[in-house]
């Protein structure tokens, strides 16, 4: 039986830009994003799938990139926080994060913004505090106590999709 190849070629679209990369089997999506593509908002803060700061959207679905091998996303579209808005603009959700003081040290903020972005797009309606709390429970924030983050996401859903309910 022959040995499998040492390198695997993957084609991925990252924040709208097509890339072709040769990766070794044990390289994680986290490693490719940070070390090869220098997208530093994606952070390996626990590297064991528990803190969630490495979360990115893979074909629009949140995944913890420290738990994804690079070869697994061949053909996929990857979105990080850099890809949800254009330079000079911010999304309504990002504005809500600012208005609600939903960050302090900011190290976890890209992950929470991405998951908030996903929840808004998935449900397209007013969100309850419980479902937001559940939806972001895979992420750790050590500074804010989560309450302002939940406030920001719920408020964004209200402004985007629902009036007073």
């Amino acid at each position: 039986m022959s040995e499998p190849p040492e390198l695997v070629t993957i084609r991925i679209k990252v924040n709208g830009v097509e890339r072709e990369l040769q990766v070794r089997p044990h390289e994680r999506l986290l490693d490719v994003l940070r070390d090869r593509l220098h997208i530093l908002s994606v952070r390996g803060s626990c590297e064991q799938g528990s803190c969630g700061l490495c979360t990115v959207l893979v074909n629009g679905i949140p995944m913890k990139s420290c738990m994804v091998l690079a070869h697994e996303v061949d053909g996929a579209e990857i979105t990080t926080v850099e890809g949800i808005s254009n330079l000079g603009e911010i999304t309504l959700l990002q504005r809500k994060f600012i208005e609600h003081f939903a960050f302090q040290c900011g190290f976890c903020t890209p992950a929470f913004v991405l998951v908030g972005h996903y929840l808004l797009n998935k449900h397209k309606r007013l969100l309850t505090r419980e479902e937001v709390a559940e939806g972001i429970s895979g992420l750790i924030c050590r500074c804010t106590g989560y309450k302002p983050i939940i406030d920001a996401i719920v408020d964004a859903s209200r402004e985007m999709y629902g009036k007073n309910v």
Binding site: M1, E3, V8, H26, G49, T55, M63
Partner: protein
């Protein structure tokens, strides 16, 4: 940290996958969601020589036919949560899956993976046991099915042979009442997982409980006799059930950093009582 290097097989069909397992089965780790092996590698507890990714084998179907549910190896937990059949006809599975990890991990982790890892804290094993779960194992020699406690040989070890691939897991639709509860102390992993079920068969009421996390291997307890004897006195029945758990597993109960033996035994009896209370309630 960087993962330890390994070689990667990415078979394009099941035959290719089985070839690899035939040749190298004991050196190959099968990878669908991969959440377990990724964690073991990060913890320095595993350094596989080969990983075989089975996501290109098309094993991502959920089939419901004639009262049987088949969940193939590549189906993720969130895909099951979003599936109407699961929500409406397999509430025990639905409840169970919602307790596993978090919403983001559930986009990657698979149900089959959770069961075949045979970890003491494996959340989905009690539901597997109570719904007559069968693992469908395929190798170059053919296909066989192994179900129930026979599938769990030892801690982290199942009846799956090195040259076999778990293609899918089958569950029976059981019309009755079922309940799942887990207990997580100060860990993200469960201390203990308990499922209970009550259904009728040939005019009798069957009441069963399945547990993981209590002892090294999963446990099924048939409480049908005690239930019948209690003649509708629920409090007495539950008390008997709790006493049974406490005495029967006193010596086998696991002790670890997540819970002492005493506490684990106690919490198990509490969860058994609580799940039974729900399923026997008229």
């Amino acid at each position: 940290m960087i993962l330890p290097p390994f070689k990667l097989y990415k078979p394009r069909n099941i035959d290719e996958a089985l070839e690899v397992l035939e040749e190298r089965g004991d050196e190959v780790v099968v990878f669908a969601g991969g959440t377990k092996i990724m964690l073991l590698m990060q913890w320095g507890m595993a350094r596989p020589n080969y990983i075989m990714d089975i996501k290109s084998l098309g094993l991502n179907h959920v089939k419901y036919e004639d009262g049987k549910l088949t969940v193939e190896a590549g189906v993720t937990l969130n895909e099951l949560i979003d599936n109407e059949v699961i929500r409406e006809r397999f509430s025990l599975l639905y409840e169970t899956i919602k307790s596993i990890a978090d919403d983001i991990i559930r986009n990657k982790a698979t149900l089959v993976g959770n069961i075949v890892d045979a970890a003491p804290y494996a959340t989905a094993v009690p539901a597997f046991l109570l719904l007559n779960g069968k693992a469908v194992l395929r190798s170059k020699e053919g296909t066989r099915e192994v179900g129930g406690l026979d599938f769990f040989v030892d801690i982290m070890k199942t009846a799956q042979k090195p040259n076999e691939l778990v293609i899918a897991i089958q569950f029976d639709e059981i019309k009755g009442k079922a309940k799942f509860l887990d207990f997580k102390g100060d860990s993200l992993f469960s201390v203990v997982n308990v499922a209970a079920i009550k259904y009728s068969q040939d005019g009798h009421d069957l009441v069963k409980v399945a547990i993981t996390g209590l002892t090294n291997k999963p446990v099924i307890v048939d409480f049908s006799d005690q239930y019948a004897e209690s003649k509708g006195n629920v409090d007495a029945f539950l008390r008997k059930a709790r006493e049974y758990i406490r005495s029967e597993y006193k010596t086998e109960v696991i002790a670890d950093a997540r819970a002492s033996a005493n506490y684990r035994l106690h919490v198990t009896s509490v969860l058994v009582s609580r799940t039974l209370e729900v399923v026997v309630h008229e």
